[in-house]
């Protein structure tokens, strides 16, 4: 029995197809940028092809993420918070705290002993502490985002970054550079700043082990190191942090299906519409 989850984020669309035993049959990632919006359906279809399935062979499709609101071909839409929790629960049954650092926002999620969401926090409608923040700064530092983590790991100590507002951090970074500060140390300082913000936000929930870091930020070793430093203990990282939301969506669909909720077929194979 195949189940699909589609996570439409502000920059990437991720699709995961699983079976009823929670094995991943196929997963695929495509862009979501403003003009790629119509590609969401194609990413979905590509994944279905990889899994050698057909649209209507899918027993349940759950949409999540920033663009989940109007996904004509989905059977239900569930928030990324619930979906991340579900995905992580299947990857790390011992997880009690999740830190998700996405492109548009970052979240802290507290799980109860059953792995259900007990409480959560989201960052405050501001780019600070999100992937975007890193993007912008990487740009200022003139290094590409992927390398930023590695570079910061090489740093001995770090430069204190006091401004978390993206614009002002950028400004501060520029003046640090002007003072001749070491790029690696600045990058390390930024990771510390973000980690401090995100970890402190998550403290509102009371941090319990095990902690899992997911989302794009989890791909940044420098940030992970900083988060572990701030939290005071080691964190777990999913093999593919990008897709935990989509995985959780697929599994949430499975749960619903098992509870006897059936999708309405045939599904409308139309493009995703945002916010209308």
């Amino acid at each position: 029995m195949p189940f699909a989850g589609i996570d439409i984020g502000s920059t990437m669309t991720k699709v995961v197809i699983t079976d009823e035993h929670e094995n991943i049959l196929a997963s695929h990632i495509g862009p979501t940028g403003a003009e790629h919006r119509h590609l969401a359906l194609r990413v979905m279809e590509d994944t279905i092809r990889h899994a050698e399935l057909s649209f209507d062979a899918l027993d349940f499709i759950v949409a999540t993420g920033y663009g989940r609101i109007n996904v004509p071909f989905s059977d239900k839409q569930i928030t990324e918070i619930t979906c991340h929790a579900r995905g992580i629960r299947s990857l790390f049954p011992t997880a009690r705290t999740i830190i998700d650092i996405g492109g548009q926002d970052s979240k802290g999620i507290k799980l109860d002993s059953q792995g259900k969401v007990a409480d959560f926090v989201m960052n405050d409608k501001c780019a600070a502490g999100t992937g975007r923040f890193l993007e912008v700064i990487a740009d200022t530092l003139g290094i590409d985002l992927e390398k930023m983590g590695e570079i910061s790991l090489a740093a001995k100590g770090f430069v204190q970054i006091s401004n978390m507002c993206t614009v002002f951090a950028e400004h501060e970074v520029t003046s640090r550079l002007a003072e001749g500060a070491d790029v690696a140390q600045i990058a390390a300082g930024l990771h510390q700043a973000i980690a401090e913000r995100v970890v402190n936000m998550t403290r509102r929930l009371g941090i319990e082990k095990d902690i899992v870091v997911t989302g794009g930020g989890a791909k940044n070793p420098g940030l992970i190191k900083a988060i572990e430093f701030q939290a005071g203990f080691a964190v777990l990282i999913p093999p593919e942090p990008f897709i935990t939301g989509a995985l959780g969506a697929a599994l949430a669909g499975k749960d619903l299906f098992m509870r006897g909720i059936k999708p309405e077929l045939p599904r409308k194979k139309e493009d995703v519409r945002f916010f209308s």
């Binding site: 569930i78 928030t79 918070i81 619930t82 926002d105 969401v117 007990a118 959560f120 409608k125």
Partner: protein
């Protein structure tokens, strides 16, 4: 036209009715918050108008005169004034609700004065001496308003006004009773429209609307149980449906509130007293707003019960299953109260979602995810 259409017409064109009355020679007295007795204004033959902001208009003009770290609700109101949207006000009355409103009174008065301007000082502390002080402030307010009105206040007229507003309060409570049904036949969105519409029209007209609406609701068929969670909302000024509507769109019933724009202003009657001013003092100083400090009672547990007991009553009687705090950013007293109330409600096993917002509909998109996740969490 249907009563909801009538209500929406007023809600969507706030101020139109007041403007109309103003042009017809009536005196419109604008005021802020829940600490200026409408009874007094009405008793002097004038029409009270509760000043509102706009969550859909960006604040621009006000930024030139008011720091952005001030409460955005206050800034939004001032912004409208600067754009001439409150020209129809014959009077402007601000109570000392909080730092920002107090500061803004002077700035407002200096930049867009009304023919009549007045500041009512309101004690932060509760107690007999506070009652006496507030009563004196009201009497001083009356004497200033009398001067402006060119007539003396007649105690009988004041008593009538007290009855009038108590009548409206009773009607609103009666309406809220209907929200106890599960699922309720009326939405929080509808209630918000009705309440906000009422802020800009004479009480008599509002009472008719309430009655008409109530009759219409009573005719509605009893809906099937839908198992959607019942939500209690706490916060300050919500004079736009956007937020409540969002909560209900996400799959919930907003059934009860503690808001400046909700129960906070109408729940308690002004008790009938020989000197009507004593009743007004009791009612208005009794307003549950974080800006008023209740005297400490016993140890923390007991004190929290004393501060928030009425909320437990609300959530119990309206069988709320979750609470959402909507705090307009920069409201220091709400920011300090929120965590205490959250702790209190948590002890009643009521899940709480605390939202701090900028009084702007543009942020709704991001709130949707939080609210939906919160509701998913409750299932």
């Amino acid at each position: 036209m249907s009563v909801m259409k009538k209500i929406e017409a007023i809600y969507n064109n706030r101020g139109d009715r007041a403007r109309e009355l103003h042009d017809a020679g009536e005196k419109i007295i604008g005021y802020f918050c829940c600490f200026v007795p409408e009874e007094i204004i009405t008793a002097l033959g004038m029409i009270p108008y509760r000043i509102q902001g706009s969550q859909t208009e960006a604040i621009d003009e006000a930024d030139a005169l008011l720091e952005p770290m001030a409460c955005p609700f206050a800034r939004s109101c001032f912004n409208k004034a600067l754009k001439g949207e409150y020209k129809f006000l014959d009077g402007f009355v601000a109570p000392h609700s909080c730092d920002t409103i107090e500061r803004m009174y002077h700035i407002w008065r200096a930049n867009t004065p009304s023919p009549f301007n007045h500041f009512v000082n309101v004690p932060h502390m509760m107690g007999p001496s506070s009652d006496a002080f507030y009563k004196n402030e009201l009497l001083y307010f009356v004497s200033c308003l009398e001067e402006f009105a060119g007539k003396k206040l007649e105690i009988e007229k004041l008593k009538d006004a007290v009855n009038l507003y108590n009548h409206r309060r009773a009607k609103l409570r009666e309406l809220y009773e209907l929200r106890k049904e599960n699922p309720p036949r009326l939405s929080g969105t509808e209630i918000t429209k009705l309440l906000v519409a009422g802020m800009g029209i004479p009480a008599t007209e509002h009472i008719e609307l309430i009655q008409e609406f109530m009759d219409e609701v009573r005719k509605r068929p009893i809906p099937e149980p839908d198992g959607l969670p019942r939500i209690f909302i706490w916060g300050n000024e919500i004079d736009d449906i956007a937020f409540i509507q969002l909560v209900e769109d996400c799959g919930a019933h907003v059934v009860i509130d503690d808001l400046c724009t909700g129960t906070r202003f109408f729940w308690e009657d002004a008790p009938k007293t020989d000197d009507p001013f004593d009743g007004l003092v009791q009612k208005y100083l009794g307003t549950h707003c974080p800006r008023s400090l209740s005297t400490q009672v016993g140890e923390r547990e007991e004190d929290l019960e004393n501060r928030f007991g009425y909320i437990r009553q609300f959530t119990a009687d309206w069988s709320a299953e979750g609470a959402i705090f909507y705090i307009v950013r920069y409201c220091d007293t709400c920011e300090l109260e929120g965590p205490d109330l959250k702790e209190y409600l948590a002890k009643q096993n009521l899940p709480v979602l605390m939202i701090e917002d900028d009084y702007s509909t543009s942020t709704i998109g991001q709130l949707r995810t939080r609210i939906q996740a919160f509701l998913e969490m409750m299932i």
